[in-house]
């Protein structure tokens, strides 16, 4: 089945937005997961709640909050414009921010569980063998957390590819800029006779989701964990 040039553009844009959203937010998500799994500090409950907020808020509300925060007059919007020259309003970068924020709770959750499952006595053993905290982290903690990181990437990609409400509220539905797969399907549904386009795009969505699952499964097996490496 062949897609029109316009539909290919939608697919490419979706992959770009989701891919960049997930890989850019991965370090932040890992850091938050690590803090929640390993550290006790005042405000931990607050951080936990804040990270999980997008999971329970109506996506439209999340989109509106992003508009306030990342809009041209929002504090974060100003910061990124001044420091990095990055703007988000009505741009694909904004769609990526929406995708990342919506995916964050799932990513943090997956990695937190995985970090909590690491036997900290192994880290102690590494320390007695002469490895400092960073070496211990990279040679023991991180490899043992790999299944959780892969799960986080897959869940994050799946969630962000399906992101609709926050995106359309925050950065609108602009062809070639912020019109990702779900938005394109929604738009096609508004047009009389758009059913075949909807079908094609829906099939693409299914294929992408399946691909993500298969790839993650392969990665998990490769990483050497004997139990088949089910990541979700």
């Amino acid at each position: 089945m062949l897609l029109s040039a316009e539909e290919w553009e939608v697919v490419a844009l979706s992959l770009k937005v989701s891919g960049i959203a997930i890989f850019a937010s991965l370090p932040l998500a890992f850091a938050v997961a690590w803090l929640l799994a390993r550290r006790h500090f005042p405000g931990k409950v607050l951080l936990d709640a804040l990270v999980h907020l997008p999971l329970v808020l109506p996506p439209v509300v999340t989109g509106w909050l992003l508009l306030l925060a990342f809009g041209s007059n929002g504090p974060l919007g100003r910061f990124f414009a001044d420091v990095f020259g990055l703007t988000f309003m009505f741009r694909w970068t904004g769609a990526a921010v929406a995708a990342a924020v919506m995916a964050l709770p799932l990513m943090v959750r997956a990695m937190r569980l995985s970090l909590e499952a690491v036997d900290q006595r192994l880290e102690g053993a590494a320390r007695t063998l002469g490895a400092g905290p960073w070496r211990t982290f990279f040679s023991i903690t991180l490899p043992l957390t790999t299944p959780g990181i892969l799960a986080a990437i897959v869940l994050g990609l799946a969630r962000s590819l399906g992101e609709f409400g926050a995106t359309i509220t925050f950065v609108s539905n602009i062809p070639g800029e912020t019109r990702t797969l779900p938005l394109a399907i929604y738009s096609a549904l508004q047009i009389p006779g758009g059913e075949t386009a909807v079908t094609r795009l829906a099939i693409i969505s299914v294929i992408l989701s399946l691909l993500a699952l298969v790839v993650s499964e392969l990665l998990a097996r490769r990483s050497g964990y004997g139990r088949g490496g089910h990541v979700i």
């Binding site: 006595r121 192994l122 102690g124 053993a125 590494a126 320390r127 007695t128 063998l129 002469g130 490895a131 400092g132 070496r135 040679s139 023991i140 490899p143 043992l144 050497g224 964990y225 004997g226």
Partner: protein, 206 residues
Amino acid sequence: MSFEIDIEIARGATYITNDFNSSGGLTALFGPSGVGKTTTLDAVAGLLKPKRGRIVVAGSVLFDSAAGVNLAPEARACGYVFQDGRLFPHRTVRDNLLFGWHVRPRDQRWMGLDEALKFLGIGHLLQRMPRTLSGGEAQRVAIGRALLSGPRFLLMDEPLSSLDQARREEIMVVIERIRDELRLPILYVSHDRAEVERLADQVVSI
């Protein structure tokens, strides 16, 4: 003096207090389970911070609450053989053995891989993953890993408890050689009287 230990460790509502000196060789910490033998080893290794006190091993101050000294575990150069082996599950036997060896500066290593393999009879296990080892094999790898990290002293937490009789004998010979030929101070935890009588130069009952 090899081990000079005078510490107080908070454990829940109670304290474990230890105060002993040993003059070298193999010092056995002997006593029933639950009195804090392992906790004491953890404190010497730096995995656990005593509430107060002083730990000196072979002339080096590892911990001194009065002077504010508390060396990080990686700076203590102790070879810790854990009761449960504690091998890294994602690394082969070879990578487990060489973990500390790679980290330690060249001039502080005193044993090579081949020597360790011969010492412990584990040459055939190199490519295996820890989960495929028997208890005895895993413990031998754990001892090899500790020795290869170039330690200045050894901490052994019931290292024979998971071994069969033949291997116990072999490992005891190894421990005697470490004690007599390498003259490495050893702090050895056990609740087995025969084992302690055979190996220990000095017994501390706690």
